[in-house]
């Protein structure tokens, strides 16, 4: 009841967000000194005013700014994000192509980060102040401190070039054909197609970029799990549990973990949000054909339809992730009331 | 009696909005709902009731910290809510507040000297030297030494902090001090010190106290008149004698009988109430107490009883009281 209302409110905010984000990029796009659209004309056509006019008309650039914006929003409602200046394809199509790669990588790395982060965090909290604890804390700090672009480089140099134990950049080995697109997540598609080798290959390719991308989130989760668990262990109800005669293990599993996970969920959300930002760097290093690379190119080329498209997509993602986190919160913590 | 009237509270209502400010369906907590009573010069009026019944809210509204939804607070003949900012500021000098939690009511980043200087600073009263003398005087009055002035709140004990709070309230020579549970957070042995101090100061400065507490023994000890609140409503008012010895309202009776008594020989019959206090967001119909009242009749759930004068100066809001 409250939850549905809450979701409705968040979705309403989403509309505002989309309008806001697109407006911001729109305004930036019209305050830049150079004209990226014309840059996409051939050298000869540039000198031909008639061609320039036709071109502008084609992109609607001859109309006043607000008209352009309304046209844009109008189209957006219909699911049309305009056409990328650079790729000359509908932005929607581009996003459909690039986004699954990003999602696959992000999901994988968040999976790694959550699994190991929580495991490390719990061990560290239980053995706090021991050498293990110091070691894990050191690793987790290292995880949040290491520049992903550099780590990616080092990993490739070491595991791919020098040792040859990891596959190279890209989503699958070059000689393999991508699976038939159902979800466009290669591992899943390959499994759906029953192509076990391909799935393994795709999974292997996820490993290095997934680790690099996940290192920050993993560090964050380790740290949060540790301190959250320590904090929960000092709460009154843990004393109650002790007074009941539960063993320390039972207390951690039954009483502390559930409560300690609540703040961890937020961090997972934050981490996921960060991932999408960090994507640009990691995708560049690992030649990962995802939204990060697309955004990088789009921004570099001032391809504004594409920039708006990507920005909207990422913002929506952010909100949706937060929404999921909030809902998870409600599942983990019965006290939460949505307002 | 008329000329000694200090404050008149008339049909005061203070509702808090609970749903988000953007929401269409506004919900309210009726923290203070249609409360009227008077405060006379030099008296101590006790306000008792269970947690959440609106005691603090009432105190703060009288102080003008909240803007009430309805009603008036007439202080020395004028409604304080009709004041403009400047007059309001003037008025602030005359009503002061002492808080329950002596630690929370002192800014942890200021020294005692800074804290006591604040009232003078805000109202631009006196020169530096005058202020210094005044502060020294205040410190003496509340039983603190001058060397405490350079300390920070966390360097003092609870009782000492509460004394600082009292000194601050006294700084501008107020007429009325609203004491919101001034001793609840203090240890038993310190509690007595503070109560005595409050009594001494009242005599010395001719102060009027609105004394809010849920400790009925303390209220009994210090107050001249007592008002009993239940769920935002005043259910009984009377002199302290009458309230304790000649209780009219069933709630007040239950409240008084529930006090644990350190006197083993005084074993009174205890009236046990059922259940908990209902939520002020959704109070019961009719008499708000009827859900827990041992004596409730059908009428109670339908009609709201008004505060009736039972005998001179003693009012109760109950259908059963004649």
């Amino acid at each position: 009841m409250g939850l549905l209302k809450y979701i409705a409110r968040r979705l309403l905010f989403l509309t505002f967000l989309v309008i806001g984000v697109s407006l911001v990029v729109f305004i930036i796009s019209h305050s830049v000194p150079s004209d990226p659209v014309l840059a996409n004309l051939s050298q000869r056509n540039m000198d031909n005013p008639e061609m320039v006019e036709t071109f502008k008309a084609k992109w609607g650039l001859d109309k006043p700014l607000y008209t352009q914006y309304f046209i844009y929003v109008g189209n957006l409602v219909k699911g049309d994000m305009g056409t990328s200046i650079r790729t000359q394809r509908p932005v929607m199509e581009d996003l459909k192509d690039y986004f699954p790669a990003t999602i696959e990588l992000a999901l994988f790395s968040i999976l790694i980060a959550v699994l190991f982060g929580m495991l490390f965090g719990i061990i560290s909290a239980i053995k706090r102040n021991s050498a293990t604890d110091q070691l894990i804390r050191g690793i987790s700090v290292l995880g949040v401190s290491v520049p992903s672009f550099w780590l990616g480089l080092m990993f490739l140099l070491l595991f791919y070039v020098k040792l040859g134990i990891a596959p190279g950049p890209g989503r699958i080995s070059p000689y393999l054909a991508p699976p038939v697109g159902v979800t466009n997540l290669y591992v899943i598609d390959a499994l759906l197609a029953g192509n076990w080798n391909l799935a393994v290959d795709a999974l292997q390719h996820l490993l290095l970029p997934g680790l690099v991308l996940g290192s920050f989130t993993m560090g964050l989760i380790t740290r949060t799990t540790r301190s959250s668990l320590l904090e929960v262990m000092s709460l009154d109800f843990i004393r109650t549990a002790r007074a009941k005669g539960l063993t320390e293990k039972m207390i951690i599993v039954r009483h502390a973990l559930g409560n300690a996970l609540i703040p961890v969920v937020t961090v997972i959300g934050i981490g996921f949000g960060n991932l999408l930002g960090g994507m640009v760097l990691v995708e560049t290093i690992f030649a990962w054909p995802g939204i990060g690379q697309y955004a990088y190119k789009a921004a570099g080329n001032l391809d504004f339809p594409a920039i708006i498209g990507v920005s909207i997509l990422i913002s929506i993602n952010y909100v949706v992730i937060n929404l999921v986190v909030d809902i998870l919160y409600g599942i983990l913590d019965p006290r939460v009331r949505y307002r | 009696m008329e000329d000694s009237l200090l404050v008149q509270i008339q049909n005061l209502k203070m509702y808090f909005q609970t749903e988000g400010s953007l929401s269409l369906h506004k919900k309210y907590i009726k923290a203070v709902d249609d409360v009227s009573f008077e405060l006379f010069k030099g008296e101590t009026f006790g306000l008792v009731g269970e947690s959440g019944c609106g005691k603090s809210t009432l105190g703060r509204t009288i102080l003008g910290l909240y803007k009430p939804n309805a009603g008036k607070v007439i202080f020395e003949g004028e409604d304080i809510f009709s004041f403009n900012n400047k007059r309001m500021k003037e008025m602030r000098k005359k009503i002061q507040l002492i808080f329950q939690d002596p630690s929370a009511s002192l800014n942890p980043r200021k020294t005692i000297n800074d804290i006591l200087n604040e009232p003078f600073h805000i109202h631009q009263v006196g020169t530096k030297i005058e202020r210094k003398a005044k502060i020294k005087d205040l410190m003496e009055r509340v039983g603190l030494s001058e060397y405490h002035l350079s300390r920070y709140p966390h360097e003092m004990s609870g009782g000492q902090k509460q004394r600082v709070g009292i000194a601050r309230a006294l700084a501008l020579n107020p007429k009325l001090i609203i004491c919101d549970e001034p001793v609840s957070a203090l240890d038993v042995s310190i509690q007595a010190q503070v109560i005595n101090l409050l009594e001494d100061l009242q005599k010395e400065y001719d102060l009027t106290y609105l004394f809010i507490s849920h400790n009925l023994s303390v209220v009994h000890h210090i107050c001249d008149r007592v008002g009993v609140m239940y769920l935002g409503k005043l259910v009984e008012i009377g002199s302290h004698e009458d309230i304790y010895r000649n209780t009219q309202h069933p709630y007040a009776k239950a409240l008084i009988s529930a006090i644990p008594n350190a006197d083993p020989d005084d074993r009174r019959e205890r009236i046990l109430l059922k259940g908990d206090v209902p939520s002020p967001a959704n109070p019961p119909s009719g008499c708000r107490f009827h859900t827990r009242c041992p004596e409730a009749i059908d009428l109670c759930s339908q009609e709201e009883p008004l505060l009736k004068e039972v005998f001179a100066g003693h009012c109760a809001a109950c259908h059963l009281v004649k």
């Binding site: 550099w150 301190s227 290093i285 | -």
Partner: protein, 275 residues
């Protein structure tokens, strides 16, 4: 306090040592660099690390060691400026939102949420593509990305603190909003924001190096670490070009985060006893 924490906490001590080292290096860098950080020597390009060039040379024969040392200044300054500006803006913004509350708060917080949802790196890249890459533009973008974090913390602190009884005491004394905000609420709310800001320093350096890796920092030949790693990617086979500046980023970030992590624990009263 410092000494006491250091004694019991290995990570913290390492952090302090590493950070002090970098700060010292940043200050005296021009005095200790063996070569000019701009000096090209095409005859000696792509030299592997040796006693002459500790970290080797790059594609136009510059000494990587000298460039890494000088680069520390830019990183430190970028981190500082971002954190200071972002926390300042965030504090004011969050403070106002929290203090006024109600609809204003709601709207202000939605706006900051919008900024947070906006993909910061894309914003930075767009700004830099439009206005040309420069340190100022990058810092501008970083501040834009970062301030909402502080606004959120500040807001929650202010909301918590404005309920405090000493605030009510000031109100009942007749203090103005200005006075209440700046004398009573602000000083007590600022602490956690400042703590967050200090702890965030390493992250700011990381973000900055990431942006400069993407070519968004100051234009060449400025020795920015991120850009130097990018140079290393370009010249993949000469591992030293990218490895050392990357290690520099890593150590600086690890140093500040070691300190931050330990301080966080220390400042958290629930965890304090363990130190």
């Amino acid at each position: 306090m410092l000494a006491r924490i250091m004694k019991n906490n290995l990570l913290f001590s390492i952090g302090i040592i590493v950070c002090s080292l970098w700060i010292v290096i940043a200050i005296i860098a021009p005095l200790i660099t063996p070569y000019s950080y701009l000096g090209q020597d095409l005859a000696n390009r792509f030299q592997a690390p040796s006693s002459l060039h500790w970290f080797g040379t790059d594609s136009i024969g510059r000494d990587v060691f000298s460039r890494v040392l000088i680069g520390s200044r830019i990183s430190l300054i970028a981190g500082l400026v971002t954190i200071i500006l972002a926390s300042f803006i965030g504090m004011i913004y969050g403070g106002i939102a929290g203090y006024i509350g109600g609809l204003t708060d709601e709207i202000m917080m939605r706006v900051s949420e919008m900024v947070m949802a906006f993909p910061g790196i894309i914003l930075a890249m767009t700004i830099s593509a439009a206005l040309g890459p420069s340190l100022y533009n990058t810092l501008l973008a970083m501040v834009i990305i970062w301030w909402p974090n502080y606004a959120r913390v500040m807001r929650s602190m202010v909301i918590a603190n404005k309920e405090n009884e000493y605030v009510e005491a000031a109100k009942s004394l007749g203090a103005s909003h200005f006075r209440i905000f700046f004398h009573e609420i602000m000083p007590n709310s600022i602490g956690p924001v400042l703590v967050l800001a200090t702890l965030d320093f390493g992250n700011a350096i990381l973000l900055f190096s990431g942006l400069s890796f993407l070519g968004l920092g100051s234009p060449p030949p400025t020795p920015e670490w991120g850009a130097m790693v990018a140079d290393g990617v370009l010249n993949f086979n000469y591992w030293w070009i990218g490895t050392f500046p990357g290690l520099a980023i890593l150590t600086m970030a690890v140093g500040t985060n070691f300190i931050g992590d330990s301080l966080r624990d220390f400042l958290d009263p629930r965890l304090r006893k363990e130190l």
